[in-house]
């Protein structure tokens, strides 16, 4: 027997029953006898949803059954099995509606049977908002009543709506477990056909909340698949009818998880022998994420504690990366390697550490997700500082392997232990990065040898790899750039185009940051910009970049170049770290950083330059940029690159010296280029500057005239 045979046979059996029941009813009441479910405007909701036809009498029901028959094709193809599944479900609906004939009340407490439209509207809102993260349909009897109730309880604790069909209802009653719509555990009925009442909920949700037109079967199935996070837990033993119903569920996008050894269909029909793992398997199969609203730690967690300083005398213990091996790390892994919310401590806990001592710590947050990328690791990691500081009585400084953490005596007395660091990191990473993180576990090492191993063998190589990636990340090496319009609140027409070699001019948004921001908040300030249609390679102008800039500036900007300061330069918002502007006498540019208060050889101070350059207006000859951009190979590439830099404040020069020297060496073969650049101790006017540049033989003097 194949799975097809089982589905077809189950379908045939139910069809036979239905046909018999309708014929009997017609024989008894006549074809004109009215039939209806109570409290719904959607007739027989499933049949109406799929076909667009309302059924009001027994005669019409018989015709409807004829329509159902046409779905029951018998080729051994997937679609036939699905359609037979749907046909089985529709038959179940017909059988159920017959129970309601003449205003009968076929279900009695605790069973609900058919659910009215008002209930759908009530449940629909939290379903749409995700406050009900999923709908579990539990069918049959668990191996033991306790296992059944435990499963129900586990879903209930996660806010998942639970519907019960068959033996599980008795099992709940047996153990006195409370059910009812108010606690979101709804026993439907004991016959397998009563499962249709939850399908009916899904179908009406699609009609009411999804604006699906009755009869648009494809739209209906797409909606249930994408928007109704339901799944089925069917306990062994399964019979043909249940399998046929299961095929219907799968057609609607609801995976079936069972503990019976049966056929397996990847992602749809899943065998999980261990009932205690039904919950995890189901959530993973249906891609349901549970919102974390509570962090389980014995002290408070709030931004009000972010600035708390813990002095030596107040501290219980200190982890100090400057003395012993410490590190913090985010590591993307495969989903199968991670058990969600597992917090593991490897080494002694705080109890075993002498008061006031310096200890090692290394914590590795391992995450997995379909949309997770290794590029996001440092983005999460940078947030750890803020997360840990928000804990009352914990102070965190530094990053990577140069961290220091202090736990206060008060926090320790309140019960704060090493694992709570893991709880906080888990909760924050899961909730703030829910868009990309499906599963997360935390390993906390306090064993000194393990810390040394993690730091040197795991973390350092990863940090090196990341740095290398950053170094080798070039504009040419990526397919897309990102826009950033975070500053539009005060600089309405400004758009930053963030590329790997040109970070946002505020200095705070790198290409990787922008990419992560986009993934985490797809409608947010960072949008993808393609760069397929080159207009001018030299100045870095692209048709698609121009289109994007025009769109994001609401038409205020027509075109920008990425690499020129003279031709269509990028605009500046006002938050730039630095401004560079042309100094005509020396045929180069001067750069002033925000912290520099003095005069520049251009004849303007930083605030004066800022007032000319800011506000999202193109100002040829001037542009704002981040400090990091100064050593970029793309810095003013169109005008000859960094060799044009003739002046910078001394402080800034020192900050960028190493990287700038390296770039100059690579581009022009010049050693110690920074020494040729003037600063305020050398000149604040163009004439003195020029004399200095001549003396040094600065390359800008012999370059093409800028204007």
């Amino acid at each position: 027997m194949t799975l097809f045979d089982v589905v077809f046979s189950g379908n045939d059996a139910v069809y036979g029953l239905t046909e018999g029941a309708i014929n009997d009813a017609i024989a008894k009441y006549g074809e004109d006898k009215a039939i209806a479910f109570p409290d719904t405007a959607y007739s027989l909701p499933c049949y109406y949803g799929v076909t667009g036809t309302k059924v009001a009498t027994l005669g019409e029901l018989k015709n409807a059954l004829g329509v159902v028959k046409t779905l029951m094709t018998r080729e051994k193809r997937l679609n036939d099995a699905f359609m037979s599944g749907i046909a089985t479900a529709l038959c179940a609906e017909f059988i159920e509606v017959l129970k309601y004939m003449d205003g009968a009340v076929p279900y009695e407490a605790p069973c609900y049977g058919h659910l009215g439209d008002a209930v759908i509207r009530e449940l629909g809102v939290p379903l749409v908002t995700g406050d009900i993260p999923g709908v579990a349909v539990i069918l049959g009897s668990a191996p033991t009543a306790q296992e059944g109730v435990d499963l129900v309880k586990s879903y209930q604790a996660q806010g998942i709506l639970v519907t019960l069909v068959g033996g599980i209802i008795d099992q709940c009653e047996e153990l006195g477990y409370k059910t009812g719509a108010n606690v979101r555990v709804i026993p439907l009925g004991k016959d397998v056909t009563s499962v249709i009442h939850v399908v009916s909920v899904a179908v009406r949700a699609a009609l009411i909340f999804g604006n699906i037109k009755p009869g648009d079967a494809a739209g209906l199935m797409k909606y249930t698949m994408e928007r109704v996070p339901a799944f089925v837990n069917a306990f062994a033993p399964l019979n043909d009818v249940i399998v046929a119903c299961g095929a219907g569920a799968i057609a609607l996008g609801f995976p079936v998880i069972t503990n019976e050894e049966t056929f397996r269909v990847p992602k749809s029909l899943i065998v999980q022998k261990d009932v205690s793992k039904f919950n995890a398997t189901s959530l993973e199969a249906r891609d349901i994420k549970i919102k974390i609203t509570h962090i389980d730690i014995p002290v408070a967690f709030a931004s009000a504690f972010e600035g708390e300083i813990i002095r030596r005398g107040d501290m219980q213990v200190e982890f100090d990366g400057s003395r012993v091996d410490c590190c913090e790390l985010v590591h993307a892994k495969d989903a199968s390697e991670i058990e969600d919310h597992k917090i593991e401590l490897i080494g002694p806990d705080v109890d075993e550490m002498p008061v006031g001592s310096k200890q090692s710590i290394a914590y590795v947050v391992e995450v997995a997700g379909k949309n997770m990328q290794a590029d996001f690791e440092p983005v999460f990691e940078r947030k750890f500082h803020s997360y840990l500081n928000c804990i009352e009585g914990i102070m965190h400084t530094g990053q990577r392997d140069m961290i220091r953490i202090r736990i206060s005596k008060d926090a320790y007395a309140a019960g704060f232990r090493a694992k709570h660091i893991g709880e906080v990191l888990y909760a924050k990473v899961k909730s703030e990065f829910a868009a990309v993180v499906d599963k997360c576990q935390v390993k906390i090492y306090t064993d000194p040898a393990e810390c040394t191993r993690i730091r040197h063998e795991v973390a350092m190589p990863m940090f090196d790899k990341r740095d290398e990636r950053l170094m080798t990340l070039t504009d040419e090496g990526v397919d897309v750039y990102y826009s950033c319009i975070m500053c539009q609140a005060f600089s309405p027409s400004h758009v930053c185009v963030v590329t790997p070699e040109r970070l946002g001019l505020c200095g705070a948004v790198s290409w990787l940051d922008a990419k992560a921001t986009h993934q985490l908040d797809p409608e947010g300030p960072c949008q993808v910009i393609t760069k397929e249609k080159v207009i001018d390679e030299r100045i870095g102008e692209y048709e698609d970049v121009n289109d994007a800039v025009r769109k994001f500036s609401q038409g205020a900007l027509e075109d920008v170049s990425l690499y020129s300061i003279i031709e269509k330069p990028m605009t500046s918002c006002g938050c730039f770290e630095c401004i560079c502007g042309i100094e005509p006498l020396s045929n180069g540019v001067c750069i002033a950083n925000r912290e520099y208060a003095g005069m520049t050889p251009i004849g303007m101070t930083f605030p004066e330059l800022a007032s000319m350059t800011g506000g999202g207006v193109q100002t040829p000859g001037f542009m704002g940029h981040g400090k990091h951009f100064i050593a970029s190979k793309k810095f003013m590439k169109a005008e000859g690159g960094v060799a044009r830099i003739v002046w910078m404040p001394k402080d800034l020069k020192e900050q960028v010296a190493d990287r700038l020297n390296a770039t100059a060496k690579e581009l022009y073969g010049i050693d110690n280029f920074v020494d040729m650049i003037g600063d305020e101790t050398i000149a604040e006017d163009p004439e003195t500057l020029l004399a200095f540049l001549e003396e040094k033989g600065h390359p800008a003097l012999t370059m093409e005239p800028m204007m």
Binding site: V128, I208, P492
Partner: protein
């Protein structure tokens, strides 16, 4: 040489949104020109004026408002009276008492009050929350149910609760949903996109893009609205073509210029006159920036703005 004006008519237009049902239903939006520029092309729907009452009735109102409601004992009386003033196009019920940091009235109590009002008023209805996002989610979704079939306007869904308010008001009961953001064109747009993705029909969405009293950071309101209308009309940005509804009274009647008594600041003169002028001047500035409807409180303010709209459009 005579003057020749270039037409400022756009190919795109603001969505038309109907609020209420039957004869008294109103339409806002629909224009394809900048606010009030009826010389560029006819503006079909003049900006509308709503009157605001709250669940506190006259309890917290200044005397200069109370005197207009003399003899009104119940919320229903107050609502009937409010609806009867000259120039009132719609009635807005603000469930101010729901605020958990304030009176913290229950959802049942407030919905009960809403039903009382809905039973006696045939003008289009707007329902405003208590500014607490979590409570508003409950209040507005219950209100959407209570006003089923009235095509009422719900003010407002914010980023924190748009799913609940949008799903209840926009999807479950097919009412008009207000999307509220805080004086930033990109936030306004983002919320509209999210609302659309939720499945709410964009033609059933209105925006509250932020509001302020004249003199209190009003430049942000102006620039946000200016930019939204420019993007909607000249860039045909469909995510910003929703009409704008701006609550004014709840802002202007809390600043010191409106609430200080004449005894406290004698040189400022009559409090009522100050309150009206603050409301009127703020409201017209909102309309000139792009509000398609404003919500006011003082009967004289309402008559003044309403008449001015008839003259201008």
């Amino acid at each position: 040489m005579p003057f020749t004006a270039k037409s400022g008519k756009f190919n795109a237009s603001i969505n038309t949104v109907e609020i209420g049902t039957g004869d008294k239903a109103i339409k806002i939006g629909g224009e394809n020109v900048l606010p009030l520029y009826s010389f560029d092309a006819p503006i079909e729907n003049a900006p509308k004026v709503g009157i605001e009452i709250t669940d506190f009735g006259m309890e917290n109102e200044p005397d200069c408002i109370k005197k207009y409601y003399e003899g009104c004992d119940t919320l229903a009386d107050i609502a009937k009276k409010a609806a009867s003033f000259e120039g009132v196009d719609f009635l807005c019920f603000r469930m101010e008492g729901g605020d958990p940091n304030g009176a913290n009235k229950t959802v049942e109590e407030l919905i009960g009050a809403l039903k009382e009002i809905a039973a006696v008023v045939d003008l289009p209805l707007a329902v405003a929350g208590c500014k607490n996002a979590e409570k508003d989610a409950q209040l507005l979704s219950k209100a959407a149910e209570a006003l089923d079939g009235k095509n009422a306007m719900f003010l407002s869904a914010k980023e924190e609760n748009y799913k609940t308010v949008g799903a209840a008001a926009g999807l479950a009961y097919k009412q008009i949903v207000g999307a509220e953001s805080s004086v930033d064109i990109n936030l306004a747009k983002q919320l509209n996109v999210l609302m659309t993705q939720l499945g709410v029909n964009p033609k059933s969405v209105v925006m509250n893009v932020g509001t302020a009293t004249a003199g209190y950071g009003f430049e942000y309101v102006v620039s946000t609205m200016d930019r939204i209308k420019a993007a909607a009309l000249s860039q045909n940005d469909t995510n910003l073509q929703m009409p704008i509804v701006t609550p004014v009274a709840s802002e202007t009647w809390s600043v010191k210029e409106s609430v200080s008594s004449e005894a406290d600041v004698p040189e400022w003169g009559c409090q009522e006159t100050r309150g009206i002028d603050m409301e009127v001047e703020t409201a017209i500035a909102d309309i000139a920036s792009g509000s398609n409807a404003v919500i006011l409180k003082h009967p004289t303010s309402i008559a003044t703005i309403s008449n001015l709209m008839k003259e201008l459009v």
